[in-house]
């Protein structure tokens, strides 16, 4: 030790220090410390990995937008305080979400920070400073805001970047990002409150309980035990964000953000205010903190009640019917949903008499605007999938499209729909795009256009085994380059049992189901009789075959067209 008097000049504050600057500095220091927290980074990396896993399995089901990425990454799809989560309407059981991982670790980081003073025995050192317990806690909550937000942005960014490398063009929806940050912050604040006020065992127990409980409640909700309307009360909006994005559900994000802020006020007020009851703290700060908490509670209850009054996830609330663009079948203004996911519950504003569910009747939502086209076909996907995806789709269909031109049901426009069933009618194709195709470049099902061209008759759910249909589809396959005529001839000679199975790239071929055309199942196989008809048709010019087939199509699709009639028509 050296003599201090000459080296430590007297500190003379000419004016009172700025409390705001002090708290800002403290927040920065605590943030930097949190930034080195292994717990938080473990959560961020784990959250990103899990998010990418979820994204890889179900991702571009919808728009590829930030909203979707958000849902798939489950950033901020919180489960506080009531739990419950529906990741999306097709795969909501993919519960191990990135956000849950992140939020769990954020809560753990909060408990770690909250316990630090007691763990180290440093409380007395801190409470005698002018910043005081309230100021220190406020600054630490601020640090948790920063650290949580950075972690959310990290997870969010990783998912966006990785998906962008697969051709997607995700955009950032700042409201959603904000919502996710607030949800994660809420978890960390609750963790801080737990860590600073409860025994050590709770520090680990509560985050585990939180994540496990959320998971359980989500599955519980998924099995419809829990009312779906409760999901609106979650810290971040649940599944119908896609509908909100499409304009058919009210966008609750602004309200929901207020709701989250209110929950944060409630939590923050309690975390800062309640400990001030003990010790010689400043009563006015105690009152202010608790007042903020009460305000948060009041707003949260108010907004929460409003949110709960919102329609259920799948109920269409807006826009009005007048703005819908119905397009097919017997019900004029028809809108359909996948019944298996809505539990056959009636849609709130569905027209009287309309069938509640029909996956094939997705209205024109005007959202697929990223298009690629050639002379015979136009393909449009949701905006954020981008033109890369549209071009991939077009390329996958290009070989078949000219061949099928003019045939019954062959679409000239293919549009992406957000339901898990493809359909086509009168020149318009609607297609549910398998995310793996866009994300990983897998081949598009070559049977799609054929199935549009030939709406096949079914017998007990299976396509009818009919040599005329088989022959025509083989001819289409040969003409579109899926099968060579030489391969068909070889198969005709070499397959003694009369069943020929052609395997296409990335498509299974099941000889057990030989003799039937099952393009949507991904397998194509033909009998010897089919092959004979197909090779017969292939001897003629394409335009002549199409002209001959056109009047015969009704009989063909009814499976009442004999091969001899085909020969006669061409002969």
């Amino acid at each position: 030790m050296s003599a201090l008097s000459t080296e430590l000049p007297a500190l003379r504050q000419t004016q009172p220090p700025s409390r705001g600057r002090v708290l800002t500095t403290l927040t920065r220091v605590e943030s930097a410390k949190l930034g080195t927290s292994a717990v938080l980074w473990l959560g961020a990396v784990g959250g990103a990995l899990v998010s990418l896993g979820a994204a890889g399995s179900v991702w571009p089901l919808l728009t590829g937008s930030a909203g979707l990425t958000y849902r798939q990454a489950n950033i901020g799809i919180g489960n506080l305080p009531v739990g419950g989560l529906r990741i999306d309407f097709l795969s909501f059981l993919l519960m191990p979400s990135g956000w849950l991982v992140l939020a769990g670790f954020a809560m753990l980081a909060g408990t770690w920070l909250g316990r630090r003073d007691r763990r180290c025995g440093a409380e007395e050192l801190l409470v005698v400073t002018p910043t005081g317990r309230a100021g220190i806690r406020a600054a630490r909550l601020g640090a948790l805001v920063l650290a949580s937000s950075i972690a959310v942005a990290f997870v969010f960014g990783v998912v966006l970047v990785v998906q962008a490398t697969s051709g997607a063009r995700g955009s950032i929806d700042w409201l959603i990002l904000l919502d996710g940050c607030l949800g994660t912050t809420l978890a960390s604040w609750i963790g801080y409150g737990v860590g600073s006020s409860l025994p050590a065992a709770f520090s680990l127990f509560v985050p585990i309980l939180y994540v496990g409980g959320s998971f359980y409640l989500s599955v519980w909700q998924a099995t419809s035990v829990l009312s779906s309307s409760i999901e609106w009360l979650l810290p971040t909006p649940p599944a119908p964000s896609w509908s909100a994005g499409l304009g058919f559900l009210p966008n609750i994000f602004p309200e929901h953000i207020v709701y989250l802020v209110a929950l944060l006020l409630l939590t923050g007020g309690a975390v800062v205010g309640l400990p001030l009851r003990r010790g010689p703290e400043q009563p006015e700060r105690h009152r202010v903190a608790l007042g903020i908490g009460v305000l948060g509670l009041a707003v949260a209850v108010s907004i929460g009640a409003g949110l709960q009054a919102k329609p259920d996830s799948y109920a269409v609330a807006s826009p009005s019917h007048a703005t819908w663009a119905p397009e097919r079948y017997s019900v004029p203004d028809y809108i359909g949903f996948d019944c298996s996911w809505v539990g056959n519950s009636p849609l709130a504003n569905a027209p009287r008499g309309a069938a509640p569910c029909d996956v094939s009747a997705w209205f024109h939502d005007h959202v697929p605007v990223s298009c690629a086209a050639d002379r015979s076909l136009s393909v449009c996907v949701y905006r954020d999938y981008g033109p890369v995806a549209a071009r991939r789709l077009l390329a996958a269909m290009r070989s078949q499209a000219p061949v099928l031109a003019g045939l019954f049901g062959r679409p000239v426009t293919v549009r992406m729909v957000p339901v898990n069933a493809s359909s086509c009618f009168a020149g318009l194709g609607k297609i549910a795009i398998d995310e793996s195709m866009i994300a990983y470049g897998e081949q598009f099902d070559p049977g799609y256009l054929m199935s549009c061209a030939f709406p096949l008759p079914e017998s007990e759910g299976l396509p009818v085994d009919d040599p005329s249909i088989g022959g025509v589809t083989l001819w289409l396959a040969i003409r579109s380059g899926l099968v060579t005529a030489g391969a068909a001839k070889t198969a005709l000679v070499s397959e003694p049992d009369g069943v020929t199975c052609f395997a296409f790239a990335n498509l299974p071929c099941d000889a057990q189901s030989g003799g039937v055309l099952s393009p949507t199942d991904g397998g194509l196989s033909w009998t010897r009789a089919d092959i004979r008809v197909g090779l017969f048709l292939d001897r003629y010019r394409q335009s002549r075959v199409v002209a001959a087939l056109r009047p015969l199509l009704p009989r063909l699709v009814d499976a009442t067209l004999a091969p001899s009639d085909l020969e006669h028509a061409l002969g």
């Binding site: 030790m1 003599a3 430590l8 002090v22």
Partner: protein
């Protein structure tokens, strides 16, 4: 900075630790002496605002600690080293002292860092400023505590057992440091080591079961024992305290034990022992 304590009491449950204590502490170094359980730590915790009194008033530099504003103003002016203090083990020495400096509202980063370095240097820890606290010895951690207490140039410095864990050389340096700091400050030093008091204090308070048995200059305390300390051949019945010295004689505190006993110059420790052994009993206090 003047500290005025009036009628101060503090109880923990049914145990009364401080009893109607009246004290006035002036600039300079005041040592609080007393046996274990005398209330030294409780008094310092109350002066530091870490603990609220059960009764009584305290004014620190004119600021009334019973008011929130007064407490904040007092906190701006005090440095405190608790008896048992914990640190964040992953913080470096610099980070810890800097952290406390921020809490002490030193919001100018450059100035704050300069002061942090100076305080660390003052306690002789410059060489380990970048080391994490968990790697330091107990004595070094104690010095970190002193550094954080002085970093904001406090007008009132409260040190509870500051030399515990320090080696003799560090204790000597600590005394130099405290002496240099005391020029225009009020330093309150709680200890049971009389030699620390004798070495640096300008004033001493002897606490006994929550009451001040003595408050004055060390020399005045020593004077209390004038004519009450003897060297004798044997232990007398009348002695308040007695023990055998290294030379084989018996040092007696109390009335003259025998005609052959020789009066000797009392030490501060003699006086302290005399005062505390003549103190009223707990029953008498009640």
């Amino acid at each position: 900075m003047r500290v005025v304590v009036e009628n101060l009491s503090r109880s923990f449950g049914s145990s009364k630790v401080l009893r109607d204590l009246d004290l006035t502490l002036e600039p300079g170094i005041t040592g609080i002496l007393g046996p274990n359980g005398a209330g030294k730590t409780t008094l310092l915790r109350i002066l530091s605002t870490a603990l609220a009194p059960s009764k009584g008033s305290i004014k620190v530099g004119g600021w009334d600690l019973s008011s929130p504003h007064g407490r904040t103003e007092a906190r701006r002016r005090l440095g405190y080293l608790p008896q048992e203090v914990g640190y964040y083990p992953r913080f470096t020495v610099f980070q810890l002292v800097d952290y406390i400096a921020i809490l002490k509202e030193l919001d100018d980063r450059g100035e704050r860092h300069r002061r942090v370095r100076t305080a660390i240097d003052a306690v002789g820890l410059s060489a380990v400023a970048g080391k994490r606290i968990k790697t330091l010895s107990g004595g070094m951690r104690r010095r970190v505590g002193i550094a954080q207490a002085i970093v904001a140039d406090p007008e009132l410095l409260l040190l509870d057992e500051p030399t515990g864990g320090l080696d003799p050389e560090q204790r000597m340096r600590f005394r130099q440091l405290i002496t240099s700091l005391s020029a225009d400050r009020t330093v309150v030093l709680s200890t049971h080591l009389v030699e620390d008091i004798a070495a640096v204090c300008t004033s001493v308070v002897v606490l006994w079961q929550g009451q001040a048995l003595f408050h004055g200059q060390p020399a005045q305390l020593r004077e209390r024992a004038d004519g009450m300390v003897w060297l004798a051949d044997a232990v007398p019945d009348s002695a308040l305290l007695s023990w055998r010295t290294e030379e084989g004689a018996v040092r007696v505190i109390g009335p003259r034990p025998s005609a052959a006993a020789v009066a000797i110059e009392p030490t501060l420790e003699d006086a302290y022992l005399l005062v505390t052994n003549c103190a009223p009993t707990d029953a008498q206090l009640r």
